[in-house]
């Protein structure tokens, strides 16, 4: 289980981005983390994979554990070695390098099993096999996203953290990607899905957390979240009251914080 407890993150010593959030990802499940822009989803992922340094961020409180081993502030290479791989937001493939080279880099920490893992990725994404020798910058958006996911799978992760895999993709492709996520999960990889596309995320996940300005304001099994009136209105875009317009003054703001300590 990957668990985050009371995590507080500060950027540039002054900007408090995460105000003590807690969530956990039980083994073998798909958990989604939802929220609007700037609510701190990506920061939470960065904190887990040790990428806060490049953004001048620090973990000021809290703890991150994987199978009860503390990985707070660990080196990114150590975290990858422990079986946690992240697909960065906006894909971030090495566009000047070929598909094969990108995959090889994903397997940097276990270079020995690159051939088998490449085969496994090609099985999952047959299109990548056709493009294996192409410069990856010339792939289509969907293919690039597949490459980014495939690259993360090269390190044989137990936990896969996906940051907005549906970003900038056509609805048809979003559907395909979500099917692939389910497929990857069924092969025994635990998935944390960070999304703005709440509809897609809640459909495939078993549990969902909703973040607002650095706090986790709701956490419930996905089915329950999908039936929640506010979630339907603000995240799924369903208006239950016909065509009435609603004033933002009436919008309920969530105050609840989930904490284990304090």
């Amino acid at each position: 289980m990957l668990a985050v407890k009371n995590l507080e993150v500060v950027y540039q010593d002054v900007i408090l981005v995460l105000r003590g959030i807690s969530f956990e990802i039980p083994k073998g499940e798909i958990v989604s983390l939802l929220g609007s822009n700037g609510s701190g989803k990506t920061t939470a992922l960065r904190a887990i994979t040790g990428l806060l340094d490049t953004q001048n961020g620090d973990i000021t409180k809290g703890q991150i554990t994987v199978e009860d081993q503390d990985i707070t502030n660990a080196e990114p290479s150590k975290i990858v070695n422990l079986g946690i791989a992240q697909v960065l937001e906006g894909r971030r493939i090495f566009s000047e390098l070929t598909v094969n080279e990108n995959l090889r880099l994903g397997g940097f920490t276990n270079d020995g099993s690159v051939p088998e893992n490449t085969e496994r990725v090609f099985e999952l994404f047959p299109i990548l096999k056709k493009r294996a020798k192409n410069i990856s910058g010339y792939l289509s958006g969907g293919e690039q996203q597949m490459l980014a996911i495939g690259r993360a799978l090269m390190s044989d992760p137990k936990y896969l953290l996906l940051d907005e895999p549906s970003l900038g993709l056509a609805p048809k492709l979003v559907e395909q990607i979500s099917e692939l996520i389910v497929e990857i999960n069924s092969q025994g990889v635990t998935v944390l899905l960070v999304e703005q596309n709440a509809n897609m995320a809640l459909k495939i996940s078993s549990h969902g957390y909703i973040m607002e300005t650095g706090n986790v304001v709701m956490d419930n099994p996905s089915e329950k979240l999908m039936k929640d009136k506010d979630v339907q209105e603000f995240y799924l875009g369903l208006n239950t009251e016909g065509t009435d317009r609603k004033s933002f003054k009436d919008v309920k703001h969530y105050k609840r914080k989930k904490r284990w300590l304090s």
């Binding site: 994979t49 040790g50 990428l51 340094d53 490049t54 001048n56 080196e75 990114p76 290479s77 975290i79 990858v80 070695n81 791989a85 992240q86 960065l88 971030r92 493939i93 090495f94 566009s95 000047e96 390098l97 080279e101 090889r104 880099l105 994903g106 940097f108 920490t109 270079d111 690259r151 390190s155």
Partner: protein, 306 residues
């Protein structure tokens, strides 16, 4: 025709020496986004180490040569680890100034040791007499110049294979494109930076020998020759290794041709250019190329989204 061939050969050889320095500069620039002004100092430090071992201590030349080059690489590694690693993430400008400081530090120590008299680097081929040469169709090919040419070809081929095939080579390319994404793959970016400086230092060591070895000597002014790799990388484009090689060859050939044909040029222009004009010519070439292509011949145009 013989003069032309002679000038071409000497120019190419000189250019290949510059390319060893230039590749180091480009590698460091690509990996860390910093133009290292300390690099020419590393070149002369390498030469100084070889000279100190081979001449002052009487170590056999080849042993001194190998130790000197490896030690130069290690100095690069140490400089990176102690001075530059803590500066990761700081503004590029401050890091560039820091490298100027390192340059002054290294050269002060070295100049103090060199003193007033030129230093020799020892004789790699005692049996061939005084750095012999062979004659081909009236063109004199000095062994030292031939060796420089071959060394550069071998080093460039090795690096090409390294970047294409080896795990760390590919990781180095990835780091130069996107540091954060490289970190997310579990690549230890700090170690990559160290490796870059090590390779750059080793190349600088080789270049140091060819710049100051043979009939040339190591003096306090030797580093000016190493500095000529700077116009070479600017011509080629700061972030391109092929560009660095082409730029170096352009600089080398310019120097070669100007040295041999200066009298003809002076007669043609009707103004005396003065002795040592061949040393200024590379900078003029850089000036004109930058007027036409501000990013260098092979440089990537910097496109930043606002």
């Amino acid at each position: 025709m013989t003069i032309f061939l002679q000038a071409t050969f000497e120019g190419l050889s000189l250019g290949s020496v510059y390319s060893l320095v230039a590749i180091g500069l480009v590698l460091v620039y690509k990996a860390t986004d910093v133009l290292s002004f300390a690099h020419p100092a590393l070149v002369v430090v390498g030469a100084g180490l070889i000279s100190a071992l081979a001449v002052d201590r009487g170590v056999p030349f080849w042993l001194a040569f190998i130790i000197g080059i490896i030690a130069t690489g290690l100095i690069g590694l140490i400089v990176e680890r102690t001075f530059l690693r803590p500066m990761v993430g700081e503004p590029v400008f401050s890091v560039a100034i820091l490298t100027i400081g390192i340059d002054i530090l290294l050269r002060t120590i070295l100049n103090n040791w060199i003193g007033l008299n030129p230093r020799y680097l020892g004789d790699p081929f005692p049996s061939f007499g005084n750095f012999g040469s062979l004659e081909l169709n009236g063109v004199t090919l000095k062994y030292l110049e031939l060796a420089a040419l071959f060394t550069a070809i071998i080093m460039i081929s090795l690096l090409t294979v390294f970047f294409k095939k080896s795990k760390y080579g590919v990781a180095m390319m990835a780091t130069s494109y996107d540091q954060e994404a490289a970190l997310a793959q579990g690549i230890n970016v700090g170690r990559i930076f160290g490796l870059v400086w090590l390779i750059a230092g080793i190349l600088a060591g080789f270049a140091g020998f060819f710049i100051t070895g043979g009939f040339n000597t190591l003096t306090q002014a030797s580093f000016v020759s190493a500095l000529r790799a700077l116009p070479a990388v600017v011509i080629g484009g700061l972030d391109s290794i092929p560009g660095a090689v082409v730029g170096s060859l352009i600089i080398g050939l310019t120097q070669g041709y100007v040295a041999y044909y200066q009298i003809n040029i002076e007669n043609f222009l009707g103004i005396p250019l003065g002795s040592g004009f061949s040393l200024i010519a590379p900078y003029l070439i850089m000036f004109f190329i930058l007027l036409i292509r501000p990013d260098g011949l092979f440089g990537r145009e910097e496109v930043e989204r606002v």
